[in-house]
Symmetry: C2
Subunit: 245 residues, 2 copies
C-alpha cells in the first residue's frame, strides 16, 4: 500500500463550466494553492485513500459550488453524490471518524485536545503571512511578536513531546494542519516571516522533516508556482490560470 | 441523578488574588458573562459532572492565569492539578471524549460533522452582536445579510432534522455551542438583531425551548445582569464587580 496517485493539477473550473459527473470516488473541491483545502488533501494522503480533485477558480466560481459548500468555499469533501462536508478541520475530523485506519489524532484525549490547541495557536502565523502578502503596511510590533510567540509555542510542544513530529514518529493531525503555513513561509523571501535559526533550530529541522513526509511531498507546491503566486498575489493580479500547464 | 449544584457567582479574581488551592474537582476558569466559557459550562451541566467555577476579572487578570491558559483567556478547564485544556470548542470535545455519558455529538460521522459546520455558520451572529454592542457604526448591509443567512442556515437544519433540538429530543453539541449567542440576542433591545417572527417562527420556538433545558436554565443570566452588561459594555465602562452581589 502507499499513497494513491491522484491528478492534482486539473484545470480550475470556472463560471459556466459544468459539474463533472460523479464517479463514485471521494471528491475534494479544491484550489491548488489553497492552504485550507490542502489540509483535507494531506489527511486523505496520510490515510492512503483514493479520491478525485476538482479544482475551482475561486475568482469566478462555477454556479454549482454553493450546492457543494453552503459557504461557497473550498475545501468541500463530497462523500457520496450530493453529500458534502466543508470547513477544513471538519473535513479532516470527519475522515478520522469515518476512516479510522492510520489515526491522525493521538489516542489520549488530553493530547488530542492539545493537537487542536496547537492548531489554534498557529493563527498568528497565517495572519502574518497574509499581511506580508496583502497588507504589509499593517504589520506592526504586535503582529511580529504574536508570530514569534506562535512559533515558540509550537517548538515548545515539539520539545516537550520529544518526538520527530508533534504526533510521534509519523506526522498526525497537528502536523498536517500546520503544514500549509510552514510550506509557504519556508519559500517566502521576506524578512518579517524569516524563522531565526538561533532561536528555532528544532522547529526548522522539524519543518524540513515534514517536507519529506510522503503525504506532504506528493502535494508540495513546485517552486515555480509558489514564486508566481507570491509575486502576483502581492499585486492583486494573481490568476489561477497562470499556474496551469 | 441531575445537574450538580455549582456556585457560579463567586467573586471574579483579579491581580494580586491568590490561586485557590486545588480541591480535586474539575475546574473551569470562567467569567460570568463570557459566551465562550459558557459553552464549557453547558457541556459540564449536560453531562451532570461535578465541577468548580473560578471566575476571573478579564480586565485585570490574576498573574497566574497564563499558567492555566497559554492564551490568557477563559475558558480553561483544569482536569488535574496543572493540566489545563482551553479554547471553548476544544474543552467541550475533550469532555465528550473523556466522559462519554450523555453524548453530545450525534453518532453518525456526517451528522457530527454538520454539528460543527452549524457552529461555524453561526459566526455572523456573534459578529453582529459584537458590532451592535461596540461598533454600531460598522454595521452595514453585508453584516445584516450575513446575520439573516446564518439564522436561515440554522433554521433550515432544524427543519431538515425535524427534531425539537438540532441534536434530537435533547440538546447536543450544536445546540449548546450556539446557545450563548441566542441567550444574549434574545434580551438585546436593538432592531438590528431582532429575529423576524414572520420568517423565523421555528427558530424562535426552538430558542424558547432551549431556554427551558435544565443545563441551560440553571446558568441563564438574570435579566438584571444582562441589562447592566448591555448598558455598560456599549460605553466601554463595564466592570465585572457591578454584577457581583
Amino acid at each position: 500500500m502507499g499513497i494513491v496517485e491522484v491528478n492534482f493539477n486539473t484545470k480550475h473550473l470556472t463560471i459556466g463550466d459544468p459539474l463533472p459527473p460523479w464517479n463514485g470516488k471521494l471528491r475534494v473541491y479544491n484550489m491548488r494553492l489553497c492552504p485550507f483545502a490542502q489540509r483535507t488533501i494531506l489527511a486523505l494522503n496520510a490515510k492512503q485513500l483514493d479520491y478525485e480533485v476538482i479544482n475551482i477558480d475561486l475568482t469566478d466560481k462555477p454556479e454549482w459550488l454553493t450546492s457543494k459548500s453552503a459557504f461557497g468555499k473550498v475545501p468541500a469533501l463530497e462523500i457520496e453524490e450530493g453529500v458534502c462536508i466543508y470547513e477544513s478541520l471538519v473535513t479532516v475530523e470527519y475522515l478520522e471518524d469515518a476512516f479510522p485506519q492510520r489515526p491522525l489524532f493521538p489516542q489520549d484525549p488530553v493530547k488530542k485536545a492539545f493537537d487542536k490547541i496547537i492548531v489554534e495557536a498557529s493563527g498568528p502565523i497565517l495572519t502574518l503571512y497574509f499581511k506580508v502578502m496583502r497588507f504589509p503596511d499593517t504589520i506592526n510590533d504586535e503582529t511580529i511578536s504574536a508570530y514569534a510567540k506562535a512559533l515558540a509555542f509550537i517548538q515548545d510542544q515539539l520539545r516537550d513531546r520529544g518526538t520527530t513530529f508533534l504526533d510521534g514518529s509519523e506526522p498526525g493531525y497537528a502536523d498536517y494542519m500546520l503544514w500549509p503555513w510552514f510550506e509557504r513561509i519556508r519559500k517566502l523571501d521576506d524578512e518579517a516571516v524569516k524563522i531565526d535559526p538561533s532561536k528555532f533550530s528544532l522547529l526548522l529541522e522539524y519543518i524540513e522533516n515534514m517536507a519529506k513526509d510522503p503525504a506532504v511531498s506528493v502535494y508540495l507546491l513546485p517552486d515555480r508556482i509558489l514564486e508566481i503566486f507570491h509575486r502576483d498575489y502581492k499585486t492583486g493580479t494573481f490568476k489561477v490560470q497562470s499556474i496551469e500547464d
